[in-house]
Amino acid sequence: MTAETIIQSLASGLLMGLLYGLIAVGLALIFGLMDVVNFAHGEFLMAAMYATLGFATFALLDPLIAAPLVAFAMFGFGALAYLGVVRFAMRARTNVGMVQIFATFGLAIVMRGLAQLLLTPDYRSIPSSWLGGKTLAVAGIFLPEPQLAGALISVAAFAGLYLLIHHTDFGRALEATREDAGAVALVGIDKNRVFALGWGLGAALVGLAGAVMAIFFYIYPDVGASFALIAYVTVALGGFGSVFGAFAGGMIVGLVEATTALVLPPSLKSLGIYAVYLLVVFIRPRGLFGSL
């Protein structure tokens, strides 16, 4: 194993990690806002990938152009998922946690079923796009361009999210609602509206990730399942509720995965991620940046 192979795989691991962060941040945002873990998060990613495929097939839009449109559509979808399902799960008086888990899990199963029914279980891919299959050579290191674009979009999205949370009225409403959902009603903030917008925003972020993923990954009804677990680990590693913990968590997961793939067979590359998660929470039971 040469130094070059190590640098090469760390570089691609870091790019993939930034994309993992973008996949996971919606989950972290929603959890931080209202303590709900969305078990349909992987299926949101799946829906975004199919939407990108749709734009590419029927409107001949490159995934990079389609990305904002997909994010916009996913915003609406996320808000609807809150208003149509999760809002009712919040009303439960007993067993709140399990009701939320299984209401969103039911939603995930329905979405998977709909995808199988309407789009067939076939594996699909976007045949050609601007970046698909291309690599960029920087000082002897080859960087796959789709992942590079994903990493840049991820950094931009996190920067945008930072500005949104700290410098806009909506961000302040978001912060206030997460602090005390009961008290914000007294100052005239509609809690349900903030929650719906939060779900929209979370879904829009995973929509951006899905548009990039569609460039280089197969698209099929169960595609979300494998990334969902990585997203949960990413969020938990960073600390539940910490939006920027998801950013750090994503990078760690990407780097650990790439390092594990260097020493273990590729089919075992997730073992490293799992081991690091356990190690971190055994030492810090609230994740790296989790409060509470």
């Binding site: 439960a92 067993n95 399990m98 939603l107 079923g113 677990l229 799992y274 039971p285 994740g287």
Partner: protein, 328 residues
């Protein structure tokens, strides 16, 4: 509820359970269809598995989404002991249970310090790690899995190719045993400790409940019976691979009947399994599984509907009526 009425409600539960068990035991006299009998076996198996999950997840409140680990360990221990060493499955069943309980204790030591989602994700991650290891473990069949070699039908080898009936009676027995264990624990020191740990661990600790030991005891009992269920399943389908006995979806399938029936209740898991398993099996065969997706949609809508409409679980339907009766 005062002590006398609590005791009488426990006696009534035992009587109802005995009547139900006798009625269930008579079912094969009426039901001759192999397909229906197969559904009944699966329903009883999930009732037993969910009842075992409920001890840790329901009574003690430690939401494990990694019970597929114990199920798979039971299935693999039995099958490996039989195929590699020729040991009868009955021994493998107990050995699998003992190994699972020991592993549950070893894993509980670090994981029971975690709370809520951190704990749930740790259970998923541990079970997934074991799943990946078994997928790559050549001696144990790796991804190809292991076929249980065919021998003559006998109770000694717990193999029945011609009739499903013995499997039905074993599954019924296992469902009854797990129910009885839960029933016995409900009124024991552990039962009270578990509920105290679930409701408020800090308050329980201050009142002298040993929180950590309570969780460990619940985990060991729960893992033991889950593994026995796994050993049974291996004999029932006579073929196992990591995907079919250790994948994440199994962990959810075990928790689901308890959650939908009534988490942390005596009747919830059995009630949930009795409704959920036949419904999913029937939709799968009537509207067509095999990638069409309608069965998934029906299943998902059902889960959402029950979770949203009856957050306390389906047992709530019965309790409400009782409350109205007592109010009169």
């Amino acid at each position: 509820m005062d002590a006398a009425s609590f005791a009488s409600s426990r006696r009534r539960a035992l009587l109802i359970a005995a009547l139900l068990a006798v009625a269930a035991a008579c079912l094969p006299l009426v039901v001759k269809d192999v397909y229906v009998l197969n559904i009944l076996v699966l329903t009883l198996m999930y009732a037993a598995l969910s009842q075992s999950w409920n001890i840790l997840g329901g009574y003690c409140g430690q939401i494990s989404l990694g019970h597929a680990l114990y199920f798979g360990l039971g299935a693999y221990t039995t099958t490996l002991l039989f195929t590699k060493l020729g040991v009868v499955p009955w021994f493998g069943m107990v050995a699998g249970g003992a190994i699972s309980a020991t592993i549950a204790l070893a894993l509980g030591y670090p994981t029971f310090r975690l709370r809520g989602h951190y704990f749930a994700i740790a259970t998923i991650v541990i079970a997934e790690s074991a799943y990946l290891l078994f997928l790559n473990w050549d001696w144990a069949g790796a991804a190809l899995g292991i076929n249980v070699p065919v021998r003559a039908d006998s109770w000694l080898l717990f193999q029945f190719r011609r009739s499903k009936l013995p499997f039905f009676y074993f599954a019924l027995g296992l469902a009854c045993v797990t129910w009885l264990v839960t029933w016995a624990f409900e009124n024991s020191k552990w039962g009270y400790w578990w509920r105290a740990v679930k409701d408020n661990p800090e308050a329980a600790e201050s009142l002298g409940v040993v929180v950590f030991h309570s969780k460990m005891a619940a985990a060991a009992v729960s893992a033991f019976f889950t593994a026995v269920g796994g050993a049974f399943y291996a004999q029932f389908v006579s073929y196992i691979d990591p995907e079919s006995v250790m994948s994440f979806q199994f962990s959810l399938l075990m928790a689901l009947p308890a959650v939908l029936g009534g988490i942390g209740t005596l009747w919830g898991p059995a009630l949930g399994a009795a409704i959920l398993i036949p419904l999913t099996e029937l939709t799968r065969s009537y509207v067509g599984g095999g990638g069409k997706g309608i069965d998934l949609i029906v299943y998902g809508v059902l889960i959402m509907a029950i979770a949203l409409a009856r957050p306390e679980g389906l047992v709530g339907l019965f309790e409400r009526r009782k409350r109205i009766e007592t109010a009169r």
